[in-house]
């Protein structure tokens, strides 16, 4: 026993042992805290007589949802209602990510443009939208869109598409026999374009000779399906919206809530992406541009072939955060009545009384979406990373 004192002191003076002990203590603390939270929650639920469990997801929802990408009626289950909400979240996030990326890259490059007016306009856009709260922008777009003329005075585009304060009504395409051929043709054209570009790249690396890949690829992807479409006698029927007593019937309805949320998210996130793009481009050493000019590359080719590939390494990691922000910010939908996961979940929560379950579904879904986005962007980042030679 007498020997244990000095040996403990000796072990404590060992840095690795000390680190292990401290880490074990912290871990034990976290586990104890979690265990207490779970036990306390269970106890509180019991004293309040609240039922728990996810069985309620099979119960009928009894409420309607206006925008549904899958079959849903008021007799569908709570689980299906949440799925409809999730798909609406995914739809607006995907649309937003595409638009914000285009907007952000354009504005970021324009801020560095030699054109004084364009550069100033891009700066004004970035500074204005970055510094106004997203919620205000969202309400601004929604108010603007619901300020459009009423249904009876709809703006008409050639009497097939209509715009009013309830959004847009567009003709809905429906496939007729033969349209599958067109789709198959488009698919084959894409495959062919990829093959051509791979071949052109090998040839360029081997011989140094260029090839107009972009023009050929676009020609293939646009030309093949168009030709097939015309040759097969345009196998596509259009369901054109017809004026009804209250609303147009038929066609596709795009609600002002979807458009307002999409624009607000794109414009807001685009401003942040623009700053990332500008920073990325500026991070590429000036010598690279000068070297490219010295080799006789045009300004456009310098940007596309020399600066951007190197800038992407600096742009992509912050871009990932912006994509995550956009997806999570889409939950502001609830403020204008777009029926995303949070909005539908709130209704489910209220009609079923299952707060813990719905909130945990929200957390798990947003966490999952964010992790998937991160995984994909990390993979992309590794792919475009500079290969040091």
């Amino acid at each position: 026993m007498a020997a244990s004192g000095p040996s403990v002191a000796r072990a404590w003076s060992n840095e690795r042992v000390r680190a292990l002990v401290v880490q074990a203590a912290v871990l034990a603390g976290i586990v104890a805290l979690l265990a207490w939270l779970v036990a306390n929650t269970a106890h509180n639920l019991e004293t309040r007589g609240l039922k728990t469990g996810f069985g309620f997801l099979k119960d009928p929802a009894f409420f309607d949802i206006n925008q549904k990408l899958i079959e849903y009626s008021s007799r569908s289950s709570f689980g299906r209602a949440l799925l409809v909400g999730l798909l609406n979240t995914l739809l607006v996030s995907a649309l937003g990510i595409v638009a914000a990326t285009i907007l952000g890259f354009a504005a970021g490059m324009l801020r560095l443009s030699r054109n004084w007016l364009m550069a100033r306009l891009a700066t004004a856009y970035v500074e204005f939208t970055r510094n106004v709260p997203l919620l205000l922008q969202l309400i601004f777009w929604w108010s603007l869109l619901t300020g459009l003329p009423g249904v009876q005075d709809s703006l008409s585009l050639g009497n097939v598409a209509f715009l009013n304060n309830r959004g847009a009504r567009l003709p809905a395409p429906s496939a007729e026999p033969g349209f599958g051929m067109v789709l198959a043709g488009a698919g084959m054209a894409v495959v062919a374009a990829i093959a051509v570009s791979a071949w052109a790249k090998r040839r360029r690396l081997a011989t140094g000779r260029g090839f107009p890949v972009a023009a050929i690829a676009i020609g293939l992807i646009v030309g093949v399906p168009t030709t097939l479409f015309l040759a097969l006698g345009q196998p596509l029927a259009w369901d054109v919206p017809q004026p009804g007593r209250f609303n147009f019937t038929g066609g596709i309805q795009v609600t002002p809530e979807l458009v307002a949320l999409w624009w607000a998210l794109s414009v807001y996130t685009g401003a942040f992406i623009a700053e990332g793009v500008r920073g990325g481009i500026l991070s590429v050493a000036r010598g690279q541009t000068e070297a490219a000019y010295a080799l006789g590359l045009s300004r456009g080719a310098t940007m596309r072939k020399v600066v951007l590939p190197q800038a992407l390494c600096a742009i992509v990691p912050p871009l990932t955060s912006q994509y995550l922000n956009l997806t999570k910010n889409s939950s502001l939908a609830v403020a204008i009545g777009y029926q995303d996961l949070v909005s539908v979940g709130g209704t489910v929560l209220n009609q079923s009384g299952r707060a813990l379950e719905v909130v945990s579904i929200w957390i798990v879904v947003y966490l999952g979406l964010s992790l998937l986005t991160s995984l994909f962007m990390n993979w992309y980042n590794r792919r475009i990373a500079l290969v040091e030679r």
Binding site: T41, G49, F63, D64, N66, F246, I336, G346, L349, V359
Partner: protein, 344 residues
Amino acid sequence: MRTPRAWIAAAAAVATVTLSGIGVTNAATLEDVRAAGTLKCGINTGLPGFAYTDDRGTWTGFDVAYCQALAAAVLGDPTKVRYVNVSAANRFTALASGEIDVLSRNTTWTFQRDNELGFTFAGVSYYDGQGFLIRRSLRVASAKELNGASVCIQRGTTTELNLADYFRANNLRYEPVPIADNEEARVAYVAGRCDVYTADASALAATKSALQNPNDHMILPEVISKEPLGPLVRQGDERWSDIARWTLNVLLAAEEYGVTQANVRDMARAATPNPEVNRMLGSEGSLGAMLGLAPNWAVNVIAAVGNYGEMFERYLGARTPLGLPRGLNALYKNGGVLYPLPMR
């Protein structure tokens, strides 16, 4: 103001359920309210007649008066109320999590809310039904003609469910436009985002009264549901739910026996010929003590807000912008369905 309230309330509810102390039980709301010295009362975010701010910025209205009555019964002072504005979508989480002691927000008494959600209704303070508000210029005479219309609807209400049932049963299509509260519904309806606003008839009367030209709008004849509205508390605290129930009953009984805000003090001072009034006002028997309240609890209630009839006329009746008739909400003696329980 449009804010993601549902989020906040839900997060708060979860935090409360997970974090609140193990020793805290449900069964002591009366003691909690006494210790705090104020009653936390959940009310609407704004509904003319039921819960609105007057020109001095204080909350007033039919539902608010019940909060004041309960505070008068428990604390002897109708001003000792902290009002918590809750939307249709977050009211139940607010009550379940203990953020409020009582919910007085035109809430329909349903089987599921009473049983599955774990609440106890104190009774019915207003018998309502769901109707439709629409512009006269659309020339609609019946709800059956609403095929294809856009309908504004508050999320998380019974009206949302009735609407789906009604349109489904009548084989009509519609576009639901979900809204968080009555004020947002008014904005969306005025902006023309929806053709029709559906809610409890009383709420429609309130909304209509606040429109620029109320006569350009009408309420369709169909009443598609029964909506018995009333205050509610958490289940499992019998003492507290009894207090809530009998406070409401005092308001009704006072109307039946002609006890008013003006004469209640006089009637309480000396025994009246009616023993039931004497028991209620505490000059005979000990009803207050049976509830754990002061002997003059009912006097305080009536002195604070008057009897049910006075409350109705003050906030909802013919001389108010809402101009609602008593209808079902008259005493049984006058052709209504209000039947006060005996104070014995």
